[in-house]
């Protein structure tokens, strides 16, 4: 399992149209909350 997040390949901007692209985080395996953030119970 990777230890750092990866993202889907960045989409190139279309010529003549400027906008932003929101990329969902790619799957990196089961994700546990880091200790600094903890969990609720």
């Amino acid at each position: 399992m990777n230890s750092t997040p990866s993202v889907e390949p960045q989409q190139e901007r279309q010529p003549g149209k400027r906008t932003i692209v929101v990329r969902r985080l790619d799957k990196i395996g089961p994700t546990a909350m880091p200790p600094s953030q903890g969990t609720s119970n």
């Binding site: 399992m1 997040p5 906008t19 969902r24 985080l25 790619d26 089961p30 994700t31």
Partner: protein, 353 residues
């Protein structure tokens, strides 16, 4: 969306290379934006619930001289559609009372966090849960936990079916029953317990067994989802096959769960995906896997029932992560071995092809 606001659980952060991270670090929720020109960060800063999309776009144009109004509106629309933004002034929600809003406030927060569909107001998933009618078959290890969870979640209508009485050996895992209930019908005890947990849920019970597909078809009439937590009659050609036949034929989604020692697995089936028989046909037979040994703990039974309940809620709220037609689960002796099985519909299948 009239007054977009970044959801508190999705607060944006700038990474060291300028990339914006939204939604924390959870797969399935979080996103990143390569923000070369700073437009996204500025737009997110303006999305504090006090401005309309048009006002946010105007703010972007004022901040970036080369940005056209059309481009600015596109940036705003993209962020609103991303699911990281909510309506800051959703107006009243007459479907829920003030008491219900307090009771289900943590549920609302959860659904706001994981639901990436832009909604008119954050209570929409809870309203759908309140409108849902769910049939639960079986009130044992899986079913008692599922029934508790669905009741606590505020499902509007529940009908629970189980023919058994409470036995001492049930009490290591079946959370609705106590020592004082030994010998009493599980359905009767469950009704009493669950009504005390949530009086807002309309609950009925039947202390009877489902002995044919026809009986199952009669029971499911008028319900939106089946939570199948019974294991008799056993497969093959048992209760799960009946559910596939009846629910598949009627277009009613259904969820089934159970445990095999440390292996907990739950199946989700319904329109738009392969049916139970097709998924099962794709799973290679395993030597020695045919007998259901009785060993179970409260934890494994609880996981089974809670996963069933979660998938029922995901179905009725529209939050199922993928189309139905799969098994998933966990193996308690193998933390890295998550269970997942999905196989395509067989061309000859009359249920799902």
């Amino acid at each position: 969306m009239r007054l977009p606001r970044v959801k508190p659980e999705h607060a944006p952060h700038q990474l060291s290379d300028g990339t914006i991270r939204l939604g924390g670090a959870l797969y399935g929720i979080a996103s990143e934006i390569t923000d070369v020109d700073g437009w996204a960060w500025k737009a997110l800063t303006l999305m504090d619930g006090t401005r309309t999309p048009a006002q946010i776009a105007a703010g972007l144009c004022a901040a970036f001289a080369g940005l056209t109004r059309e481009e600015a509106e596109d940036v705003v629309a993209t962020l609103v559609a991303s699911g990281h933004v909510e309506e800051a002034d959703p107006g009243p929600c007459p479907e829920l009372s003030e008491q219900e809003k307090e009771r289900y406030s943590r549920s609302r927060d959860y659904f706001r966090w994981v639901d990436l569909t832009p909604r008119d107001h954050g209570w929409e998933p809870q309203v759908r849960i309140k409108a849902a009618r769910v049939l639960v078959l079986g009130l044992g290890g899986t079913g008692s936990h599922a029934a508790w969870s669905l009741t606590a979640a505020g499902v509007g209508r529940l009908h629970l079916v189980d023919a058994d009485v409470v036995e001492l050996s049930n009490l290591n895992r079946q959370l609705l029953y106590t020592e004082a209930d030994l010998g009493r019908p599980k359905a009767e005890v469950a009704l009493d317990r669950l009504r005390r947990i949530n009086s807002g849920v309309r609950i009925t019970v039947a202390a009877s067994a489902v002995d044919s597909p026809g009986e199952l078809a009669r029971l499911i009439d008028g319900f939106d989802v089946l939570a199948l937590c019974a294991d008799r009659p056993r497969e093959p050609d048992g209760i799960q096959s009946w559910a596939n036949q009846v629910c598949g034929g009627a277009g009613i989604p259904w969820v089934t769960g159970g445990y095999n020692g440390p292996l907990v697995s739950v199946g989700v089936f319904g329109p738009g995906g392969p049916c139970f028989e097709c998924v099962r046909a794709g799973i290679p037979p395993q030597p020695g896997a045919g007998y259901a040994w009785p060993g179970v703990t409260g934890a494994s039974a609880g996981l089974s029932g809670q996963l069933v309940a979660y998938d029922v809620l995901a179905l009725v709220t529209g939050l199922l992560p993928t189309p139905p037609g799969y098994f998933h689960g966990v193996t308690l002796l193998d933390p890295d071995g998550h269970v997942y099985a999905r196989h395509p519909a067989r061309p000859e299948c009359e249920i799902c092809s």
